[in-house]
């Protein structure tokens, strides 16, 4: 079964072709990151304008790279949300028009399901499994007892973890996107700054707004006292506290639900500090981390998720399929 998939929920226009939910025949990603850098973050209207500029070119390149004839495509899968609405609507309508013009069935896929299924490219999933979803928009602990069955154990009560990273990066004057820069610097410092308790007790929920404000105040006070801020140490202290809460709650979920596999998903899954801590601490179950290139937004992950979504109940969408900026996975 060949799936053509489309992802446009934020600032990446991407089209991919996948065979049998496993073999990536092509995965073209047109990133706008250099355009948005100038503004210190993604500007939604600019993102939408860039998506419509590039969309047919990305389709063309993905088909060419995959050496697949349109006639051989069995299913179109497209991200229906959550994300930036103007961006989503370009992908959704491009995908619907493509599906209709070529007489192919279409399914709308949840963006986070895509991030989770990026792991299926690395390993066959074994259930039950726990997945930690960490990105600029999400922080969730998910339990899966079978394919395409998601149970949310907990989520962030305020900021997503990636959001907190970007805010900290901005506070200490690093560029955009700041998360990877904080991660890089954190590898060189010591956890010398005190950080607040962000454990949220016995729940599987998270909260990052407190630690974010703490860092902002800390930097402000140091500047006021004309002291020198040790940037690497601050990054290490922040990253240590954040990854600690992510990993310890993951371990608790693994034990409580007798998970056989643990995976991470989302843009922050590329964080080296987080990967290192997972490798050190989670040793009793199989750990899967997605390849770096499948951590950030891409259509391949949507294609795999779309494949399993279709396998589960054979349900497809019609031409009324719409994008939605807010959308629950479960």
């Amino acid at each position: 079964m060949i799936v053509l998939s489309v992802e446009s929920s934020c600032d990446e226009t991407s089209v991919s072709l996948i065979r049998d939910g496993k073999e990536v025949l092509s995965n073209v990603v047109l990133s706008q990151i250099d355009i948005h850098k100038e503004y210190g973050g993604v500007v939604p209207e600019i993102a939408s304008r860039e998506h419509i500029k590039g969309v047919t070119m990305v389709f063309e390149e993905a088909l060419r790279n995959a050496k697949i004839d349109k006639k051989d495509i069995d299913l179109v899968a497209v991200t229906k949300g959550p994300g930036l609405i103007g961006s989503l609507l370009i992908g959704v309508n491009a995908a619907k028009a493509f599906a209709y013009a070529n007489d192919i069935q279409i399914v709308g896929v949840h963006h986070i399901a895509g991030h989770i299924y990026a792991n299926a490219l690395t390993k066959d999933l074994v259930f039950p499994l726990i997945c930690l979803v960490v990105s600029g928009g999400h922080t969730e602990l998910i339990l899966m007892k079978e394919h395409y069955n998601f149970i949310k154990l907990g989520e962030t009560m305020d900021d997503a973890v990636g959001e907190a990273y970007d805010k900290v990066a901005r506070t200490i004057g690093l560029g955009y996107p700041g998360g990877p820069l904080v991660d890089k610097l954190a590898a060189t410092g010591k956890p010398s700054y005190h950080m607040p308790d962000i454990s949220m007790g016995d729940t599987f929920d998270f909260s990052f707004s407190g630690i974010k404000s703490h860092v902002i105040n800390l930097v402000h006070n140091i500047n006021q006292r004309n002291e020198v801020l040790n940037v690497p140490d601050l990054c290490t202290s922040f990253q240590e506290a954040v990854t600690e809460v992510l990993v310890s709650k993951s371990i608790r979920a693994i034990n409580e639900f007798d998970a056989k596999m643990f995976m991470i998903a989302g843009g922050v899954a590329a964080n080296k500090g987080l990967r290192k801590k997972i490798a050190e601490r989670i040793t009793n179950v199989e750990v899967v981390v997605p390849e770096f290139k499948y951590c950030t937004d891409n259509a391949a992950m949507i294609g795999i998720a779309g494949y399993y979504q279709f396998q589960k109940d054979q349900k497809v969408d019609d031409m009324k399929l719409n994008g939605s900026s807010r959308l629950n996975l479960i």
């Binding site: 939408s48 103007g86 309508n93 491009a94 028009a97 209709y100 070529n102 009324k320």
Partner: protein, 201 residues
Amino acid sequence: MKKSLKRLIIDSSTKYLYVALYSDFQCLGKYYQSGNNDHSINIMGEIESIFSMNNIKVSDLDEIIVGIGPGSYTGLRIGVVVAKMFGWNNGIPVKTVSSLALIASSFDGDKLILAEMDARRGNSFLGLYAIENGKLLLQDEEQLTNLEEYKSGIQGAYDVVSFGEPNIPLIIHSEIALLCKDIHGLNPNYLRLTEAERNLK
């Protein structure tokens, strides 16, 4: 007998979504409805139902005419992306036309026609048109400015037209739809930079 020319016309730049299928100058089916941010839900479903009623496929089209704005950004892009996708996928020639010209075409009279769309913050997208010898002609560059100010500079009698169902035979006769030479380069005409870009300057 010469085969008739099948045209799909799309405009989603205002709160009215317009989709029509023409065979030469005869309308085979159309949808013209005011909606509330739901062009994305309706556009493909309406195309599908018009096409199936006429037993036509995308590959049967000879030409697509699409309103490329100016207009409401998010809505506008929905029509343009569908036209762009059909044009690229099936190699169908796509012609672009001003969405203001489509509004102007809906009106019949002997005065000038000022097609107007609200662009918020006291501004409008404006296009001044005249009908001469059965053709719709643009009189001045289309622009984004204050409606009252613009009106004060118009010489001669005019009617302001803010919406109306496009008159496709008039648009075709007027030859104001221009062939897009590079389908990948087909983009809306926003008539304005984004706020972020303006602030950066």
